[in-house]
Structures are given as C-alpha cells and as structure tokens.
Symmetry: C2
Subunit: 320 residues, 2 copies
C-alpha cells in the first residue's frame, strides 16, 4: 500500500515547512563520523548528532514545530501532554520559547532529573500513576477544566513532520546516502524520516529492541500490535506505534530490524569510547542492529540518527 492509499495526506513538503518553522530555535546538529566504527561495520556511517540538540534529543524538533504551528488563539490556551521522557522537556521548552503555558502529566515515578528539567523550563507538572490509562485520564481531566491544546508525543502530524527535519538536514549535508537508520518507539522519528526521504531513492530502516518489538510485529502483520510488557534498557522505545505513524511506516519504510539488549549496551559503549559523545541506550539501537545483523544488502553509506543523550551519569549500564 502506498501512503496515498492510506488516510494520511502528509508529504515531504510538511517536513520542509517544519524545518523553516523551527530554524530560529533548534540547533542544526553536526554530522559525525568514526573511522574505527566504519571498520567494524564495513560501511560508511554518518551520525546525525541529535544528542547535541536542545534538551538533548530530536524530540525538541517535533515539539517546537507543534507549538509554533498553533494559531495565536490556540496558543493562548497553552499546551498539554503526557510523557516521562524527552518529549516532556521538549514541549516545556518549546512552550517557554513561545511564551505560553504548558502542563505536563508525568508518572509519579519519573526520575527526579526529568522532573527538574521540565520544571526548569517553567512548565507545570501534574503527577499520575505510572500507567498509560492513568496518564490519558489525567490529560482528559485537565482538558475538561481548561482548553489546553494536546501535543501527543508521536501520533500527531506536527510532531512527525518536525522529527523529520533531522533527516532533511542529514540528506542535505550527505546527499549520497543509500539509507537512513533510526530507532523506533512510537514511530514519530521513523515516520518523519520516511517522509523526509520520500522523494529520493534513500531507503529508511527502523530498529528496535527485540524486547519491545511491536513495530516489527506490526510491520509483519500489517496492523498495529501494541507491546504489552516491554523490558528494555532503551527506555525511549518502550511505547507502541500509533495509527498515524504506522500508516507512514508501513507505506514507506524498508525494514524493521530488532536487536538484543547486550548489543544495545555494546553499541552504546562503543559510541561513547570511539566518538567521545554521550548517547542514551535508545540512540545506540541503530548501530547495535547493524553490528549484530550486519549491513543489509546494497547499503554501503548509511545515515544514523543518534536520537538523544539523556542518561544518568551515576548509573552506566556497563558498570552494573
């Protein structure tokens, strides 16, 4: 099925428009290379360093695009979301930059450092029990009290097109790529990347932990199969695809690769050691997949989106 046959009418132009919208606020992150990692995988890899993005993750791109897409009337209501991770901080910062209110529903067991980051950007936090139903109920309840604009972490066209801007920059700087490889959790980054690459011959591949393989299962079954009990160190990838992200992924993504937990930690440590940058486990998943499964046929030059770098420096996985 092509994207045109689905109910999703997004195109690469949405990503181009998002890029212009967020340009005054987002970093144009550098593209890094490592000869020693290239030797290990037997290919040329180009790492788009979104761990160096504002709030330390690509999530700022989507949140910024969503907030600056609002009309003044919409923006005057403020924004709301539920997230325990990078989207929470990203939306808080984007709202601060536009000068509007943000209410972030966070699970009460969210790490203190994440709570502090969100509060540091001036957002209000409402705590809820640590499950999806409680989060959604808390958001719905808050919206009955005040007409906040909901900005979902991934299943939102503004978020998808914003996340695609990282790949747009990568393809501008490295037009000869055979493929772009991203992690996939809720699918915002992967679907946005697919849109960014959709008018080229560049293949787009998703990668996820075998322990949270809802995207691979959904891709194979051709319908969304949510994950029930994800048990992975890649905390950014524990969510399941949404209907919007899945529609784009099924139409435009080449393949979903899965990877073991051991491989994720090894790839993460390799990036720290050889590239001297800090990436979170989720960001290491694409390299882990290429190392564990080998380069897919026909791919000699690949871009990798290093999705984020927010880790607890007191608890590194190779020290446990």
């Amino acid at each position: 099925m092509t994207l045109d046959e689905s109910n999703v009418s997004m195109t690469r132009n949405d990503v181009v428009a998002a890029a212009a919208r967020i340009a005054p606020y987002a970093h144009r992150t550098p593209i890094l290379t490592s000869r020693s990692i290239n030797e290990i995988v037997g290919a040329e890899l180009y790492f788009k360093a979104e761990n160096l993005q504002r709030v330390g993750a690509f999530k700022f791109r989507g949140a910024c695009n969503a907030v600056f897409s609002l009309t003044d009337a919409q923006a005057s209501h403020g924004v709301i979301t539920h997230s325990s991770g990078n989207h929470a901080a990203a939306l808080a910062l984007a709202a601060k930059l536009r000068g509007i209110e943000a209410l972030i529903v966070m699970p009460e067991n969210a790490p203190d450092i994440k709570k502090a980051a969100v509060a540091g950007y001036g957002a209000k936090i409402e705590f809820c029990a640590a499950n999806e139903a409680a989060r959604e109920a808390a958001v719905a309840h808050a919206q009955t009290l005040h007409p906040f604009e909901l900005v979902h972490p991934f299943n939102d066209c503004r978020i998808i097109s914003g996340q695609g801007t990282a790949a747009l920059e990568l393809l501008t700087d490295e037009p000869e790529l055979d493929a772009i490889v991203t992690p996939v959790g809720g699918g915002g980054l992967l679907s946005g990347t697919a849109l960014a690459a959709s008018e080229s011959t560049v293949k787009v591949l998703g990668t996820e932990p075998a322990n949270a393989d809802d995207a691979a299962r959904s891709f194979a079954a051709d319908k969304v199969i949510p994950i029930t009990a994800p048990d992975t160190i890649a905390d950014g990838l524990r969510t399941s695809l949404g209907d919007l992200t899945f529609a784009i992924i099924r139409a435009q993504v080449e393949q979903i690769m899965t990877v073991s937990e051991d491989a994720i930690v090894r790839a993460m440590k390799l990036i720290w050691e050889r590239m001297n940058i800090i990436v979170e486990p989720s960001a290491a998943v694409p390299l882990a997949a290429l190392m564990e499964q080998g380069m897919p046929d026909g791919i000699a030059k690949a871009g990798i989106i290093l999705s984020g770098g927010n880790v607890d420096l007191g608890h590194l996985p190779w020290q446990d």
Copy 2:
C-alpha cells in the same frame, strides 16, 4: 617583551600554513554552545570540540603538521617521540597516514588502553621507566641506533603551529570573540592559539590546575620554572613549559588562571551533563577557571578549546 624581541620567529602565517597542510587529514571540529552553561557563567561561550578530533584530541593537529612538514628524506627515517598520552597516539596515526615508521617511547606504567591505541596505529613501542630522565635517555639511545626524526610533544615549532589551527578555525567561524581560553601543560596549544590570534584584538588566556601551576609561576617570574610534583586529575597538564612555548606565551598571552581540583571535576561533569559530550579532565580546566574565578573583566564572548576526550569510562571521577 614582544615576540620579535625573543628568539622565536613564528607568526600567524605558520599557523595558516599548518592549516592547509593538515586539512586533508584532520577533522574540522564543530563549535558547540550550551545556553545553560552560558547562564551559569554569565557569558557567551563557544566550545571548539577537539574531543571530537581524530585520536580524540587536538594533539593530532600538531603531530600531523610535523609529520607532513618533513622532507621525503627526513620522513624516510621515521619519527620518534616520548609520551604516555594523546601525543603518542597522534604521532602514531600521523606517521601511519604518511606511510612512515614511528617509534613511541612510553613509560611502562602507561594505561593499557593508551598502549593499545598506539599499537593499533602500527607504531612500535619501547617501554622505559616512568620518569622524564628515563624517557629522554631512551629516545637518545634509540636515535644513536637509527636517525629517527624527533617530534617533541610541545616544544617544537611544527607542533605549536599545528595546535594553533584549532583557534584559527574557531576565529574564522566566530570572529566576534573577545577571548580564547585554553588549558596549558607544556604550552603547545596555548602558544599556538596565541599565534593564531596574534593579528587580532582577541585576548588569549591560559588555565591550569593550581596543583600544576608552573605556567602561572613562570609567567609571573618571567622565566621557566618547571613543576616538580604535579598532583592533578588533569593528566594532560602535568608537564612544564618549554623554552619555545614560554617565549610565545610570555609575549602574547594575557593571563594564566589557576583552578582547584574540585572545580575541574565539577566543570567536567557539567560539560558531560549539559552538552552530552565526553571530555577529559584537562579539557574542563578552562570552564572550571571561569566558573571558579568568574569571567575576567571585558570578556563577554569567549572561545574555549575542549582539548580532548580520552577517559577511562570505567573510572569516572564523580564516582570515586
């Protein structure tokens, strides 16, 4: 005293020539910024990320310039140096790129990871006792057996001008800086930076651990006063100035700031946390100085050379 009055005849042109010489081999490293660190110090800081340079340190610039400055006849003899740190790996890689032999004299107690890096670039290693006299004796002895070209880690015009290329790039990308701040050990980076900035109004400041404050003492006394027992976590800064580097520094550097060990660890952790990059303790010394002593008068926009990122990820200083 101006530089012209000393016996050193180097100018900014030497740095410009070095930049052209190393351009095919060295990374043009990105310049990174952090709004939260800017808020902490009350200034705009531009970090030149030499931790992302090849071999993970600015040292590759000088070693590459030295090796590619050799005539074919000189190069045919191979190169030799003594170093337990980043210069060893840098010279080994530069020699490999030119296709010539390198002999590295290393103290027998050098970390295994450093030995492996040097060997990995195909250099020969000769071990010696862990003191300066033993190192120099080993080099002298090797040179009686074979006419290696000596490439000193810092007290060498080719090294100094090579190290200055990082500041040259920084000043090209950020021409409005008031100052550039670097760490100072043997003085190669600081003196090269001073040369790069010498035809501008940009002030150049050196920073070093209070526990290895030979540069500050030498600057005040107007003569080289070697350090006797440096006891600092900033292992790259335990060496003392050479006569060449000191001549440039006394003529062209504004000020040498010293900093406590605690401040170094705090600044290092801050860079890891807020910038998501890995820097070694020496690289954190400039920021540590600005945080501990405050911004010097009249400096609102400063460049900082993040000198390197080679650390043992199993032993982080805030986990001891």
